[in-house]
Amino acid sequence: MDGDLAAFRAEVRDWLAAHLTGEFAPLVGAGGPGREHELTELRVAWERELGAAGWIGLGWPVADGGRGADIARQVVFFEEYARAGGPGRLSHIGEYLLAPTLVAYGTPEQRRRFLPPIARAQELWCQGYSEPEAGSDLASVRTTAVRDGDTWRITGQKVWTSLAHIAQWCFVLARTDPSASRHRGLSYLLVPMDQPGIEVRPIVQLTGTSEFNEVFFDGAVTAAANIVGAPGDGWRVAIGTLGFERGVATLGQQVGFARELDAVIAAARADGRLADPVHYDRLVDAWIGLRVLRYHALRTLGESAGANASVAKLLWANWHQRLGELAVDEPGAMLAEGEPYALSDAQRLFLFTRADTIYGGSNEIQRGIVADALLGKVGRR
């Protein structure tokens, strides 16, 4: 078993050494949070390279287009990917949010249709949950979908939709029964992005760049069969998605974190802050915090999700935001150089991490879920 694992590790390492080179060499260390705008086309190509080799959906059953690898192998893959400096991923929304949803709630036909293109990175996904006036309150979604012959016809607006500008598909929470109140009457629809009824507009963030989008649906259509669960079941399916176990993906995310932390510590060493005991204490605390993220991911790997996912989100979002603050804790950090508002890595980390505690379920939403688990639900007080 251990011998097998070592062989698998060698396989991953060799593959990365052979492929993350040549045309893909510029990707080493690229992408990741706050840098999604970098080298997009080349990273899409890289995702296909990964997919063709079977590295996406590694843990899925072979029947679904995966390789049926156990969790230990998935972890090994992410560790080796980290060591090789693999770039930030683009296929994760499909791989870690949609795919488990289809496994849990989808039909066999849906699994056959959608999982293999995710595993080969031929179809990238984005998530259509948040709306301008709804914030984190999924149940107040206003986007509507009306049945029209063999199709659903969708009208409304989604916001904070990352990767919408490159995704081929979007999973959308829409209201299909306007007479039902709040979370009843929602449905979970799979919608192709390349159609006249959909417009994607980038949101300019405080970084001056754009990572998220607004997505406007104006009579956009999708086939009647592209509904996950029954009409009116959308809330249950969407909440299920929020709770999916992300431990392995988290280990992947920590790849980027480690790279950023190394850079922050190196900068502090270069400018003398590391030699100051007060700053040293804070930087070691950040180093410790990343270890804790890792240990927590390892302990909860494969455990049922629920509150665990919220604990993990709160841990990493707060840690990452704190790292951003440490990155710019020196006077020169406020200077802007070059073209108007060209940010340094440290500045980008600092500014972009303000979003970590807001998107993907804000800290407030996550605390609510953790509290519900410990104290029971009590409505909204």
């Binding site: 309150d137 006077p331 406020m334 802007a336 303000r354 807001i358 804000s362």
Partner: protein, 336 residues
């Protein structure tokens, strides 16, 4: 008893003015011309109004609240530091035709006054300065530089220096690197005067930060009262209410600390000024960071003001010494 009626009036006038003209390209001309804002604390003999630091503090709170993009802070803090020692320059500053600033920080040692590499040597009845200064506030727009060098405080005309302007993360207050290459200067004070000039800038940044913090807190409260979630205003959620309360406590504490420092005896200022800078900038940072969080996604967008307050607060927190550095300074000066 906190503020006099005249002070409250000054605040109201200025707030209304900045609300109207704060984004005007001619705001500097209007502020100095129509309002005479740089003349506030300058003696009447030099064309000023003869007010005190307390009034300058109110003006700085208001320009902070408006995130004014004009060289007000360094000009008035420098003028207050120079006083009679630069009598010739005061009328120009009062009239708004002379922009002044203070050059302190140096590459590698930042604002540490015990590690200055900039030198001043006597030469033919005057002085010649050599060295490099960084993070000089509004340095490329300044006409007059007060320079902290080995041996005291010197005045140098800006055209005698080489300046490189930098835009900044906060985009409303540029900085410059200034190179002195045998630049002619006038000695206007000793090391104590130089330290006093730095203290006045710390105090000015503190006062401005109170305005930044208070404006951001009010905008956050307004958002919570307006925005609904789960069918009710965000302001009804107790967890958010308590967090806002903690922010309000910080803002009140910062207000009190700056209020005191602006009225402190001269011998108390060396402690009161850096202390106020730490307290006020930490409060402003906490408030403006939480403001983005409490605004949710919209607070993260370029078009919303939340990030502009956050960036100014971030810059103010680091300028003229970060909190760790300033706590050390306070401790040393307080004999701890």
């Amino acid at each position: 008893m906190t503020y006099s009626q005249e002070q409250e009036q000054l605040r109201e006038t200025l707030r209304a003015f900045l609300a109207r003209f704060g984004d005007d390209k001619e705001v500097w001309g209007r502020l100095t011309g129509e309002l005479g804002l740089t003349a506030l604390a300058i003696d009447e003999r030099y064309g000023g109004f003869g007010a005190t630091l307390a009034e300058v503090g109110i003006a700085l709170e208001e320009t902070g609240r408006a995130l004014l993009a004009a060289p007000y802070l360094p000009t008035v803090a420098t003028a207050a530091a120079l006083g009679e020692a630069a009598a010739d320059e005061l009328p120009g500053i009062a009239a708004g035709t002379t922009v002044a600033t203070l050059a302190v920080a140096e590459p590698g040692t930042a604002w540490r006054l015990d590690a200055l590499a900039t030198t001043a040597r006597e030469s033919g009845g005057g002085w010649r300065l050599d060295g490099v200064k960084e993070y000089v506030l509004d340095g490329q727009h300044a006409d007059l530089l007060a320079v902290v060098a080995e041996g005291g405080l010197f005045l140098v005309r800006a055209e005698e220096t080489r300046r490189t302007g930098h835009s900044t993360l906060d985009q409303t207050r540029p900085q410059a690197r200034v190179v002195f290459d045998g630049a002619p200067g006038v000695r206007v004070g000793d090391g104590r005067a130089a330290a006093h000039a730095v203290d006045l800038h710390l105090l000015a940044l503190a006062a401005e930060s109170v305005g930044v913090a208070r404006a951001s807190l009010e905008a956050t409260a307004a958002h919570l009262l307006t925005r609904t979630q789960f069918g009710v205003p965000l302001a009804t959620f107790q967890a958010l209410r308590h967090r806002v309360a903690d922010l309000a406590v910080k803002v009140e504490a910062a207000t009190s600390t700056v209020w005191y420092a602006l009225r402190a005896d001269p011998d108390e200022l060396p402690v009161a000024a850096p202390l106020a800078k730490v307290v006020a900038t930490e409060a402003a940072y906490a408030v403006t960071a939480e403001s983005i969080q409490l605004h949710g996604g919209i607070g993260f967008t370029w078009e919303h003001d939340a990030h502009r307050y956050f960036k100014r607060a971030t810059a103010n927190r680091l300028l003229f010494g970060d909190p760790v550095t300033l706590r050390r300074l306070v401790g040393a000066r307080a004999g701890i």
